[in-house]
Symmetry: C2
């Protein structure tokens, strides 16, 4: 029996030489020549990450969910404060708000799945304390600096949810270095992975110190005694995970480059397919997309489940995050009172994501494209 | 120059053969033949842990702090509820209560550093919802079943903070299988370590499912879609960590046995030292102490910092967790209103812990004992 090649949505990849180095470091720790947690590798990972992003401070966390929760707490988001979030994002963007006893306010997304600035402006009230933008699938929205200006003018915190956007930049400024804080994810499907893990970037010494205290349960930092001055939690990462992160960070530029090459090939393959609409191209402005996902938009609604089943026959996975949208999630419904997210619902119903990871070759991209085009031509 | 041997308080230890097996498993994962997170090893770790404790359900978490936070939430502890905790325990026992918007009520400890049942009874009000007992240093208090009965009678949840007590038992019932839930720590100083990590044990299917949802951000479990029905967080453990846990679990009985042999030797060495008072002996009742720490009590107050400095000369570490006691921590002070914890303060001022881990030999124990006795004889 011939084994079908699988084209997954994501697939973490470590080169042979890197695996040898990682295992050598792990062996050292297991033999007692290094700590399992709270050692030098976490410190180095934070230092190197800071350099890469070009910001001033980085605090590693146990997950991006944890990063978002701590960031909001460190910005003093609390009871009855409102935080505006796009309605098309992962659940954690909103749950982090509620975990801080605050209220998530759902905002429309535009056709690139970035937060809709016009809608955003209309949602600001006296209770609004912060805005979370999501660099969806890796794309930083063109008007991000206008949003930033708006936030400064209105005394609102701007938080970047960079879960998709490690390696993205705009005008040579990296995702995570634009707002008051950036929250990254190193979950196993991400461009850089530590299995589970996250990072909080910022340029404020005070904020960073607050985060550092909170991730160590609220400890008084820089004290030799175990004195607690805040109510925090444990958001630490093990040394094993930090080592993984450190090695990948060394080759992160080549990871992003490869993703861009694959994405351009998809773009090229689909350029003439009438039912499809490509995402606003990178060259429109000085933007590097990390391409955590490759998005294809359809000009009309199509049966995505049929498409999924049809492609599965060839071993090809597709998906369409995030379904349902936040305001349709059972536990979040109550926060959505007026009926204004219809455009987002429409956009969200007309796109799919194709496999995108460093184990794919241009031949793989061509194979996936060919099969998809074949099915589309036959059915639409 | 002769390098002085170091006698640390704790020291994680992995046998050579185990390291080989761990690294083989890690290599497999890194080469793509296994998941980095949410894979079979976490499931197996939970399964084997359940078997070992003898309970019905186990849910792995990212830390014991996380385990305590989720446990309280899954028991619906919320605004203005009171939870009674011993005043001598790690900060997280109380911070987990506050993280759930509830109020920690500090209780005295007895001379074995277990929660004081008489004081506990006097602290129960109409707002009290739960009691957290800490099996301090590994000792399960003799009257734990009386406390359990009291909780049942008064409709209070009994939570076991088992951070110290993996492998402890009483009447052949293991720590974590007595109350409504047990919370374990796998931090790197613990009897079994995953670097960072924790576990929640229970015998309630409903509670366990609630915990499982909460650790996956509130997801609807057993659904194929990403539907969220609770507000939870991310408390997952990586596969790397689960593998560490699984291998140690296979030899956990020998780990506990070794600790007991070392502790008995300490007991023997100190039996005739007049200023010292040994902890209530294990043979007094049908109890196995995990001996996370070996505790020495003094009959009078002594200068512990002097003792610490004097022993450091010989490479010997000592400490006295937890200092300050909870009600003296800056951020917790406000929860302590009446002045009733003086006996705990006195007990807490008259003890030290000696090095205790699997890298120590009986010769090491004798060396440490000899040096301590020498200093005590000379000064007291």
């Amino acid at each position: 029996m011939l084994l079908l090649k699988k084209y997954r949505m994501a697939d973490p990849y470590f080169p042979k030489k890197e695996i040898r180095n990682i295992l050598r470091d792990y062996k050292n720790i297991l033999e007692g020549n290094g700590l399992l947690s709270m050692g030098k590798n976490v410190i180095n990972f934070e230092k190197e990450f800071t350099k890469y992003i070009g910001c001033k401070f980085s605090n590693v966390t146990a997950s991006c969910t944890g990063a978002l929760e701590l960031t909001l707490k460190a910005l003093n988001i609390s009871y009855n404060d409102e935080v505006i979030v796009p309605c098309q994002t992962f659940f954690a963007t909103a749950s982090a708000v509620i975990r801080n006893n605050a209220i998530p306010v759902f905002c429309n997304v535009d056709k690139n799945f970035s937060i809709d600035f016009q809608n955003l402006k209309s949602l600001v009230t006296r209770k609004t304390k912060a805005i979370i933008v999501v660099h969806f699938a890796g794309l930083i929205q063109e008007n991000i600096f206008e949003i930033k200006e708006f936030c400064v003018r209105n005394n609102l915190f701007l938080i970047e949810d960079c879960a998709h956007a490690l390696g993205s930049s705009i005008n040579n400024i990296k995702a995570g270095n634009i707002g008051d804080a950036g929250c990254f994810s190193f979950y196993s499907t991400k461009n850089l992975t530590t299995g589970e893990g996250g990072m909080i970037t910022s340029n404020s010494h005070r904020f960073s110190n607050f985060v550092r205290s909170l991730k160590l349960r609220g400890i008084k930092i820089n004290s030799s005694k175990e004195i607690f001055v805040n109510i925090g939690t444990n958001q630490r990462l093990t040394e094993f995970q930090a080592i993984l992160g450190l090695y990948q960070l060394k080759r992160v530029q080549s990871i992003i480059k490869k993703r861009n090459i694959l994405a351009k090939r998809y773009d090229f393959n689909f350029r003439k397919i009438k039912i499809l609409e490509l995402l606003d191209s990178n060259i429109k402005y000085n933007n590097i997309n990390s391409y955590w996902r490759y998005i294809l938009r359809f000009k009309k609604k199509i049966n995505r489940n049929f498409l999924k089943k049809s492609l599965k026959i060839y071993g090809i996975d597709i998906d369409w995050p995030y379904f349902p949208l936040l305001h349709k999630q059972p536990i979040l419904k109550k926060f959505y009172k007026k009926n204004y997210l219809n455009t987002s619902e429409l956009y969200a119903s007309k796109f799919i994501c194709l496999p995108m990871h460093n184990n794919l070759s241009l031949q793989d991209i061509d194979f996936i494209s060919k099969k998809l085009i074949y099915i589309l031509n036959k059915n639409y």
